[in-house]
Subunit: 448 residues, 2 copies
């Protein structure tokens, strides 16, 4: 039984593991090294903090180092960077960034929960003042300060994914003109393009200058910033680069730990890496995709939280399995919510695993048609033709979108067919759903 635990990274996965280990082994020696100043913060809330929807950034701190230490008995050391893992000697090298002190720490079991960082594409000028990424609380502070200290009349967002869309809404709420530049021919590239038509219109109707199929070549700084694109120059006051994230897996790689093809760390169902007493969880790790039945890197908060907890249980001696992920996700886009689970049509085709794929896209009402406030809900199902098994679902609408995706995420986890789904006994009452929920309608159409 290990009795000395070291955890690298104090965000969701690391602190979930630490909390679990502390509860299971109250007297074990354990230390959490966190490179930054903050632990356990709700990164997903940052756009809403910048917009003012959330009034105080401190609300995003789920846990402070003080509370972790005093209330949970977890020794968290912020500003401590682990620079090297020696799996042979079961030791890590640590630099205290405040003092410059370097020291070693031994472990019986180690968790790598180093997370992911914002991608910084090789755009000339990306380091100019006024150009930001958005990943950490520190990024949020920098952006808030820049907005306070400068007269920002126009912002440019590079990348039309989740963060880009959320920040576009944030700028519009701040009454700042905003241009979104996206290299691809669609926003939200984890979705199929066809289901996003109305959402894309909605983004434009909300005053966002949306430039699809547009590549950024450089960000120039003269008296103001100029984003040079394949379709012309965009003079602007500040730039957000939201072009995805990269796994912080270099430390693991240097220690000889196996990485997956995404570059994130390979783990098994017990969150164990290729080195038996080294575990990984969170955004630095791949997870098993429950539909593809292969490892995939989709770094999202729910798997970081659950996976961290499972890692902690395994490290503390209780074998527990993390079954895997579906890439289930939701994002608010002005009045719309868009949400997805499992494979898109694109992904299903690209996987090469399915001889024939059928899709069904329907629009139904969120409530009984005669009940006031019913909103259109559009569902796209992706189905393996031969088995009728549901592979994935995407839903857009202005009401009750995310939870309908949750129903379908549950159905996919259970390997249900569209016939099974068409027969699900779901709630019905005029104010909450039609007698055939749009889920049923979509499943029945896909079953034809």
């Amino acid at each position: 039984m290990p009795n000395k635990f070291v955890i690298i990274g104090g965000d969701a996965a690391g602190m979930s593991a630490a909390s679990k280990i502390r509860r299971m082994q109250p007297s074990a020696e354990m230390v959490v090294f966190e490179k930054g100043d903050h632990i356990s913060f709700a990164a997903c809330g940052i756009p809403y903090w910048i917009s003012g929807v959330i009034d105080d950034g401190r609300k995003l701190q789920v846990l402070t180092p003080e509370i972790a230490r005093n209330k949970r008995g977890i020794d968290v050391r912020t500003q401590h960077e682990v620079t090297h893992i020696d799996p042979g000697k079961n030791k890590v090298s640590v630099t205290d960034l405040a003092t410059g002190n370097i020291f070693e720490e031994s472990y019986d079991a180690l968790l790598i929960a180093t997370g992911a960082r914002a991608a910084r594409p090789p755009i000339p000028g990306i380091d100019n003042a006024g150009v930001f990424t958005l990943r950490s609380l520190a990024d949020g502070h920098l952006i808030n300060n820049y907005l306070a200290d400068n007269q920002i009349k126009h912002a440019t967002i590079i990348g039309g994914g989740y963060i880009g869309l959320e920040m576009a809404e944030t700028y519009r709420q701040l009454n700042i003109a905003v241009t979104v530049v996206e290299m691809l021919d669609q926003i939200a590239p984890t979705f199929d393009k066809d289901i996003l038509e109305k959402v894309t219109e909605h983004v434009v109707e909300n005053g966002v200058d949306l430039r699809l199929d547009t590549r950024v070549n450089a960000i120039e700084k003269t008296d103001k910033l100029v984003v040079k694109t394949s379709a012309g120059d965009i003079p602007t006051d500040m730039v957000i680069v939201s072009t995805g994230v990269r796994p912080n897996s270099e430390l693991a790689q240097a220690a000889g730990i196996t990485l997956g093809k995404s570059g994130a760390i390979t783990i098994d169902a017990n969150m164990q890496t290729s080195v038996p007493n080294i575990y990984s969880a969170g955004d630095c790790a791949e997870h098993k995709h429950l539909v593809l039945d292969e490892d995939i890197w989709i770094p999202l908060a729910p798997s970081a939280n659950k996976g961290g907890r499972v890692a902690g249980e395994n490290m503390a001696g209780q074998a527990t399995r993390f079954p895997g992920i579906l890439g289930t996700a939701a994002v608010k886009v002005f009045d719309y919510t868009i949400a997805q689970t499992g494979l898109t049509e694109k992904q299903a085709e690209q996987s090469g695993k399915y001889a024939e794929i059928t899709t069904a896209t329907i629009t139904g009402g969120s409530r009984a048609h005669y009940y006031p406030g019913s909103m259109p809900v559009t569902i796209k199902l992706v189905v393996e033709q031969s088995t009728k098994r549901l592979l994935g679902a995407q839903i857009i609408g202005k009401a009750d979108v995310a939870k309908r995706v949750d129903v379908l995420a549950t159905a996919i986890t259970a390997k249900m067919t569209v016939e099974d789904i068409g027969m699900l006994d779901l709630t019905y009452a005029p104010p909450v759903s039609p007698v055939y929920d749009p889920i049923h309608v979509a499943a029945n159409v896909a079953n034809k």
Copy 2:
């Protein structure tokens, strides 16, 4: 292959079957006999029509006999009562209520979709003017006319189930004082009492005079109505009797068709009764309960619609199974929604099927705690201790209640354990859910 179809009853189950048969056999002979004036109406919308939330009762008519005939090619005869089934001769006796004509109609396959009627408990005075039940559009018209023609200042509702609660809200919206008299010690008796505490308070806070543990002995008519109860007299202007429903199974019983212990018609997974070419669907039939794995009578619109369709498919020669029901249901109670699926604790205990039952009740936020508008959502899970299998769930709250029950209905259908549910990959975004949805929290607590 049958080529002459007779359907008794033109509501959800009957018309679903007829529509399916017509699509599958465009030239087959088929007739639908409906005793009343209306077909396919949304009974669940009636309280909202009376309150004025739905402005026009015609919106509740899903289908009129004219549209059924002209657009769907279905020969619907309203005001036609089937009075006798002769399974030996494959004939039914029909009375045309408009003309008094009596005739026989032969069939190759027959569907009994006679539905259910409002229970009329043997209360002296239940037939007095001003005393109503609420089941059909005709009932809705009678109540609306009575409200228009009389100065109603106070109404009394006998029975605090779904309809009673919806009508209590309706009266409050009409600014009419209302007393609800319930024999049991709780409202919404299909729920466990403990989860309803806040909802019960909320009903009272909304001005409903709620009398639990109170039995109605008589309804007297002097100059006004007086509801005589075990706890005193309630002078009132009108009375709604909402004490449940009874299956219209007498016709089937008289034909020697097997009934279940509830008194509703026994059917198999193909919706076939004990007579091979006689099918049944809707509120007059029992259905298999997916948790109890035995037949149960829970007459609700979703199973009537789906079961009718399945009956039609089987009658038209395509073997299709109706898997069963969970009793999933939701009702709006002023600002709250209460919803349930599977077994309550009470039902699980009474079933005698489970050596030990554990429950977990938790309250979580509907959204991330830091995001504005997050509402408390209280979940009660009922779990078989030995297997950790989820047997049932009840949720109350002011937001996102019904769809969370749908997630759990799907999980129960898939026979998931609370461990499986704790690991479900559900949507997360601050505006739609916390990173651990209350569903996860409840499952994790139940798993301990």
